[in-house]
């Protein structure tokens, strides 16, 4: 229920947040009224999570102010935010598996009876809250083994127990089943009706249309729109979210050859009720760049890992030139002709404390001329690395320096150089230009096109729609662990793709 009262309960004015050179939030202002459900929407990297971290006290703004109920707000940390009445149901749950629902909910503010933890009183409080807000939970059930939907319910109860006026939901439906999503949206409406003010951060526009009163659209750190939901449509929101000018790349016409990569019916269950990957089938031919568009978190990481052999698939097949590689070791997969630019360059793609040379020769070291009979040939290794560095313009003073001395963009270029140097029939490039400067981005793009022109296959997995559209001969869209669209280059508009990426219907 929205109070017609015009004075907003909470305002954030002219928030700016800088991380070194990166502008995460660029003069953003929002207002929240009592009993309102406000959606903050935008792509990955648009700055919405940063903004909410500031509101929740986990980060300090570089400049800008906040006011709550007329008084200015200086939040020191999350506990302070809670004390001021701002609670957040986070994307990554902070739960203790071996503990019960009750123990998790009252954590930090436990009811006591003398010296003892009064579990019985705590449980009855939980039961009461549970009933009042229609969030059924067994107070004595252990978190371990609970499905995600129920875990989230526990997180919501935590916030209700803290009795906050404002509740922030960060990407709440990312891992819920459609039924659980439905439940959650109904819960939100109930909470709003009970007087709570809600902010939901999301990229799922159909849910926004269903539950929100107002929406703020963020793009590249700025807020670009502030609309009443009843005055807008899902297409309009989608356009505001992703619409931008494209730089058309000149790609020579190539007739794609045989199948290089063929994935049939891949299924990965994972630990939740919703499968991570659900009957996914794609193929990439020689001389093609195939892009998989999608918002991060819809199964791309799992797909990436399964192809390389870092994660098991429960059923289905992955074939390289007809040879099955599903559930094989990474060494076997690479030998079969796969190389990969990984999503997380520091976790998978390199070793920060190792030298640039050492990072550059991963997997290459096994073969001549870099090693013979198990002995490394340092001269050839130096030559190899120097060539890589030169070919990809990796800015470094000395290849014997630690890999951590490279900037993010240069590290990514090094990794791209290394993987492309494998000259394998298939290259999987995952978020290859994430967090990378424009120059490096163009460079990597040119190299990917080069590989395609040479007749190899490139699978490009990226949440940057412009990148996908610029480079791909064919585009798949991935949502919720499934493919929900396939298009040829030039046969689809950005808005359509954007819509599919956020779970909208395919009109084509």
């Amino acid at each position: 229920m929205l109070k017609v009262d015009n004075a907003p309960m909470l305002t954030m004015e002219h928030i700016v947040k800088l991380y070194d050179q990166l502008v995460a939030n660029d003069d953003v202002s929002i207002a929240l009224h009592e009993g309102e459900i406000l959606a903050i929407i935008g792509e990955n990297g648009a700055g919405k999570t940063t903004l909410m971290k500031i509101l929740y006290g986990m980060e300090q703004p570089t400049s800008g102010t906040m006011h709550l109920k007329g008084k200015q707000l200086y939040l020191k940390n999350a506990a302070h935010a809670i004390a001021c009445g701002i609670g957040m149901v986070q994307q990554h749950f902070m739960l203790f598996d071996p503990f019960t629902v009750t123990e998790n909910v009252v954590y930090g503010k436990e009811p006591v009876n003398g010296l003892y933890f009064d579990i019985k009183r705590a449980a009855s409080i939980i039961r009461e809250l549970s009933t009042r807000f229609e969030l059924p939970l067994d107070p004595y059930a252990r978190i371990q083994g609970m499905p995600v939907g129920l875990r989230q319910r526990v997180e919501i109860l935590k916030v209700l127990y803290q009795n906050t006026d404002i509740i922030i939901f960060d990407e709440p439906t990312a891992v819920l089943t459609p039924q659980e999503v439905h439940e959650l949206l109904r819960t939100m409406k109930r909470l709003a009706a009970a007087g709570k003010s809600i902010i939901i951060i999301t990229h799922k526009l159909n849910e926004v249309m269903e539950v929100a009163d107002r929406a703020i659209v963020m793009r590249a750190g700025r807020h670009v729109a502030d609309v009443d939901i009843k005055d807008t449509t899902i297409e309009e929101l989608s356009y505001m979210m992703v619409g931008r000018h494209l730089v058309k790349k000149e790609m020579p016409k190539i007739n794609p050859g045989d199948d290089i990569l063929r994935i049939d019916d891949m299924y990965v269950q994972g630990t939740g009720v919703v499968p991570l990957i659900n009957r996914l089938s794609i193929h990439v031919d020689a001389g093609e760049i195939v892009g998989i568009a999608g918002v991060s978190g819809n199964g791309q990481s799992e797909l990436e890992r399964c192809i390389l052999g870092l994660q098991r698939i429960d059923s289905g097949s992955i074939r390289i030139k007809g040879v099955e590689i599903g559930n094989h070791s990474v060494a076997e997969v690479r030998d079969a002709g796969v190389s990969m630019i990984p999503e997380d360059r520091y976790f998978w793609g390199s070793a920060s404390a190792a030298s640039i040379m050492e990072t550059a020769i991963m997997t290459h070291y096994r073969r001549s001329p870099l090693s013979v009979n198990g002995i490394l040939n340092m001269k050839n290794i130096r030559k190899f690395t120097t060539n890589l560095v030169r070919a990809f313009s990796v800015k470094t003073d000395d290849i014997r320096l630690k890999t951590s001395s490279l900037s993010g963009g240069n590290a990514q270029k090094l990794i791209a150089a290394r993987e492309i140097a494998h000259a394998t029939p298939l290259l999987v490039a995952c978020e290859p230009t994430r967090g990378v400067d424009i120059g490096a981005m163009e460079y990597i793009h040119d190299r990917l096109v080069e590989k395609r022109t040479n007749g190899d296959a490139v699978l490009l997995i990226s949440s940057e729609l412009s990148e996908i559209m610029e480079l791909s001969d064919r585009i798949y869209v991935m949502y919720g662990g499934e493919i929900n669209g396939e298009f040829m280059r030039g046969c689809v508009k950005e808005e359509e793709l954007g819509l599919l990426m956020v779970g909208g219907a395919n009109h084509g």
Partner: protein, 372 residues
């Protein structure tokens, strides 16, 4: 430009140097408690360790098993497999060498070779057992190797006291018979204690350096220590690294026992290695020098010097020889503090996978690709 290069070269030395400085300060305080003057005591220690040919060679003799055990520890710890079984492996190595040398049939050269080979096998297998327990039962290396240290000690003691004891002579010491001259390691300088074992140690330093820096296996192991996820991604078998490295580590530590038996005592003497703490000092040398083989060599000599120096001043002053353990313990303690000098956080991304017993996986970069 040259200035930066010098700074880069010296940077890794900064932390050990600082730790040594602090440790010497603590040692100085302990010396003050005894009523002596730290400066004169330290000077005497220095002289007693390296002051003349006799002292220097004694120090080097003492350093020999320390270097070898240090190398064994270094190769295991540098791949992130932190076992503390050097003492047990040295014991089984020394014991096996003595027994085989004394009782094996055949010509001299055969017995010598066999005794060394069997020692390597013994130490290697003991270490391999710990690796297997880690792999199949997730039993922490620290616990299993520790328990094996004590088990090895008592089991060998049993055999030496009841089966292989030297019953010639009046004193009933827990030691084996004396090994004949033909099998003993020759001395390097007449009249001084330094023996062939030292050259073997030097050779091992070179070999270890070569293994770690010039072989594919060494590359795989070092990268496992830097970032095991990177290794998984690159197709390196972490199991192969674990078993291989721990096997080598055990074999090398056993060689330290061989060196002592064939080069110093010419018999296996119960409790000798334990009381001298060779393996622990070796481990400390590995920790202090950041698992660098050449660093292990130098640090072992320094630590051995602290010990012989300590023994020297224990004779001439009221300062007990344990001053060396105090200084040593402080050095490693201060080394453990991640006093970051100029470099950012160390590489150790949390280890994951069924082979580790450590903490959960952490995403090392946030959504913008910045390292956390």
């Amino acid at each position: 430009m040259a200035d930066r290069r010098i700074r880069r070269l010296l940077a890794p030395l900064a932390q050990p140097a600082l730790a040594i400085a602090f440790a010497l300060a603590v040692g100085a305080m302990a010396i003050l408690v005894t009523g002596e003057n730290p400066l004169t005591v330290y000077a005497a220690m220095l002289k007693g360790a390296f002051g003349n040919k006799y002292y220097l060679l004694t120090t080097l003799t003492r350093a020999t098993p320390i270097i070898i055990c240090g190398l064994g520890a270094a190769i295991a710890w540098s791949s992130n497999y932190m076992g503390i079984g050097g003492e047990g492996q040295m014991i089984v190595g020394g014991f096996t060498t003595a027994v085989v040398a004394l009782y094996a049939p055949g010509p001299l050269w055969f017995r010598l070779v066999l005794s060394i080979v069997m020692a390597l096998l013994a130490g290697g297998l003991l270490s391999l057992l710990s690796a297997w327990l880690l792999d199949k039962f997730k039993m922490s290396l620290a616990i299993s190797t520790l328990m094996f240290n004590y088990t090895a000690q008592y089991v060998t003691m049993h055999f030496v006291a009841n089966v292989f004891q030297d019953t010639t002579g009046d004193a009933k010491l827990t030691q084996t018979l004396r090994i004949e001259e033909g099998l003993q390691f020759p001395r390097l300088f007449d009249g001084y204690s330094l023996h062939l074992g030292f050259l073997i140690a030097v050779g091992l330093v070179v070999a270890t350096w070569f293994l770690l820096n010039r072989t594919t296996f060494g590359y795989e192991s070092r990268m496992s220590g830097f970032n095991i996820n990177f290794c998984d991604y690159g197709g390196i078998s972490s199991r192969k690294v674990m078993y291989g490295m721990l096997l080598l580590s055990g074999a090398i530590s056993a060689l330290a026992g061989t060196s002592e038996v064939l080069g110093v005592q010419y018999r296996y003497v119960h409790n000798n290695y334990v009381s001298a703490s060779y393996a622990w000092v070796g481990l400390n040398a590995a920790l202090i020098s950041g698992y660098n083989p050449i660093g292990v060599f130098l640090t072992s000599i320094i630590l051995a010097g602290i010990q012989t120096g300590g023994a020297a001043i224990a004779r001439s002053t009221t300062v007990p020889l344990e001053i060396s353990s105090i200084i040593q313990g402080c050095i490693t303690l201060f080394i453990s503090a991640r006093i970051v000098l100029g470099s950012r956080r160390r590489s150790s991304v949390a280890v994951k996978g069924p082979l580790s017993t450590a903490a959960p996986v952490v995403d090392s970069a946030d959504e913008k690709g910045r390292p956390r």
